[in-house]
């Protein structure tokens, strides 16, 4: 495939893993764009994720990756375009509704409930699955006890993904950095998402922690059968586990494809390393 064709907006078909070949995409962005007072942060963003795909969103700093996450999770309202979740338009949804519909996320700068325990953080992820109201809670009616018991039993199951059960009574704010990142992922998973958005999950982790995280992300996908979109600067992680990758620069998609295709794409190399002379240079991973 000639590299030049990738510089124009690419149609919404992405790489589709074999197991999802006959399914429609779970999350789809069509011609998405947002302006912040005159400045176009994201433009003509077309993207689709299959139900159990791990997709990567990469690009230099300021390319608009986190903005896209904010659009997908409905923190921002797009100026143009639509986002379809299971074919359903999410235009009028709030962040809360988007989460209930199946979009969960983590944040670049970790956002935990720092003064609460790890267990309570996860129970908050389970919030919409715990079914009892304020009155039952105050009067300690039977459904309080059954629902709380169910939630309490679910917490170690979820923590088990990252082998963190022993931390359940620790205060979230007191956890080491890596554990905080993992807890944020567990909390997002607790909400029962169909699509999980991970914003730089490996930031600040050392190589061995990153390697473990890679295994765990794949494990999460396999266990929960969900789609995962991740933003990451660690190319080993992205190239290692992502099945489809989308490269952004200055708010625009400059390339899409499988890891191999991306690694050999001149437009990507240019975006990361600047324009080069016509000297044969290999794909640069980070």
């Amino acid at each position: 495939m000639s590299s030049n064709t990738r510089l124009v907006p690419v149609p919404a078909t992405n790489f589709i893993p074999e197991r999802d070949i006959d399914k429609q995409p779970i999350l789809e962005a069509r011609n998405l764009g947002i302006d912040f007072g005159g400045l176009t942060a994201v433009d003509a963003f077309n993207f689709a994720v299959s139900p159990t795909e791990i997709a990567g969103l990469i690009g230099p700093n300021g390319a608009g990756k986190t903005t896209i996450f904010n659009l997908l999770s409905k923190v921002y309202r797009p100026t143009r375009g639509t986002i379809l979740l299971e074919g359903r338009d999410t235009l009028d949804m709030t962040t809360v509704q988007a989460n209930r519909a199946g979009i969960a996320r983590t944040f670049q700068n970790i956002r935990l409930f720092n003064n609460l325990t790890v267990e309570d953080n996860i129970k908050l992820g389970l919030h919409n699955h715990i079914k009892y109201g304020m009155i039952s809670g105050i009067l300690r009616l039977p459904n309080y006890w059954t629902e709380e018991k169910a939630a309490r039993e679910r917490v170690p199951e979820l923590l088990n993904i990252f082998n963190m059960e022993f931390m359940s009574q620790y205060r979230a704010g007191a956890l080491p950095y890596g554990a905080q990142r993992r807890l944020e992922i567990v909390r997002a998973l607790a909400t029962g998402p169909k699509v999980l958005l991970l914003d730089e999950p490996a930031a600040g982790m050392n190589p061995s922690e990153t390697a473990e995280l890679m295994e765990n992300i794949v494990k999460v996908r396999d266990t929960f059968q969900i789609a995962i979109i991740l933003i990451e600067h660690d190319m080993n992680l992205v190239m290692g586990i992502c099945e489809g990758i989308c490269v952004l620069n200055f708010g625009k998609v400059i390339a899409k494809g499988t890891p191999e295709e991306i690694q050999n794409n001149p437009a990507v190399i240019e975006a990361y390393l600047g324009k080069q002379k016509e000297v044969g240079s290999n794909a640069e991973s980070n």
Partner: protein, 293 residues
């Protein structure tokens, strides 16, 4: 004609609020704290002037200058002893301390000068100017108040915009850490802000009591709250906002009293504040800060 005279007394009262609000706004901008003791500094300023002029018979100008000096020292002292040790503490702790200072000043004043109201003689004389064949009368105090407020406003705009100290203040209110790294003495800058705010409070106290001559230990609290409201109304942290908020608040209060109900005038003032904040959540001239996700 009554409309015009109400308008002028509104602007005059608003000017006093604006001067007090400037103190709130500057301190909030730099220290991010609600200085509830500010209203009581006004009261101290008024008492200082009262004693210097009425008891010791000195000239009103000297009275004003000395009361400014007293309040400036008081402001620096309060900041050093009570607020500086709490620089890293949660904002509520600082708020409660400020309330403690407020009680302290009020009760000290009560012990020293009793709670009997003192009759304050206006420092600018009680005369009034007559216009339109005597149908419109404007008190000299009102005019002087408005003029002083305008002068203070211009001086402060020049000070924060053009002088080294003023720039240091703005830098500190943006980012104290970065300001410190650039070699700005943050503690000194904050002290200076308190000094200026308290000096303004002294002037406001004198003007307030010149217009409304009953002086008690609690004189400062209600104008303090109103001026705080004015600061928020205009957008707390913004100097033109304090002027705009103060003036509007004064006008609304006087018009509310004159045309709607004396009893309800405070309720009207606060209701307008609420409506403004619902439409513009950071006040009229405040900048909208969006939390980055």
């Amino acid at each position: 004609m009554s409309f015009l005279s109400h308008l002028i007394s509104g602007v005059s009262l608003g000017s006093i609020y604006a001067i007090i609000a400037l103190g709130y706004t500057m301190v909030y901008g730099i220290a991010k704290m609600l200085n509830f003791a500010h209203g009581d500094v006004i009261m101290v300023g008024a008492y200082a002037c009262f004693f210097i002029v009425s008891r010791y018979g000195m000239s009103p100008l000297l009275g004003v200058l000395l009361s400014v000096a007293v309040c400036t020292l008081l402001g620096i002292l309060i900041e050093r002893l009570a607020y500086k040790p709490l620089r890293a503490a949660p904002s509520l702790a600082v708020l409660i301390t400020a309330i403690g200072i407020s009680y302290l000043l009020q009760n000290s004043a009560q012990l020293l000068w009793t709670s009997n109201p003192k009759v304050f003689t206006s420092v600018v004389g009680a005369g009034s100017l007559k216009f339109a064949g005597g149908r419109l009368s404007i008190s000299v105090t009102a005019i002087v108040t408005i003029v002083i407020c305008a002068v203070i406003m211009l001086a402060l705009t020049w000070f924060t915009g053009k002088t080294k100290m003023g720039k240091a203040m703005r830098a500190c209110s943006e980012d104290k850490g970065a300001a410190q790294l650039m070699g700005i003495n943050v503690n000194f800058t904050i002290s200076m802000t308190f000094a200026i705010g308290s000096a303004l409070a002294a002037i406001a106290g004198v003007l307030l009591c010149s217009a409304y001559p009953t002086l008690m230990p609690t004189t400062g609290s209600m104008p303090g709250i109103k001026a705080f409201t004015a600061a928020v109304f205009g957008g707390i942290g913004s100097i033109p906002g304090a002027l705009l908020g103060g003036t509007l608040l004064g006008i609304i209060e006087i018009f509310g009293k004159a045309y709607i109900s004396t009893q309800l005038s405070d309720a009207i003032v606060f209701a307008v504040l609420i409506i403004v904040l619902l439409v513009k959540p950071t006040g009229l001239l405040g900048t909208r800060i969006q939390e980055k996700v």
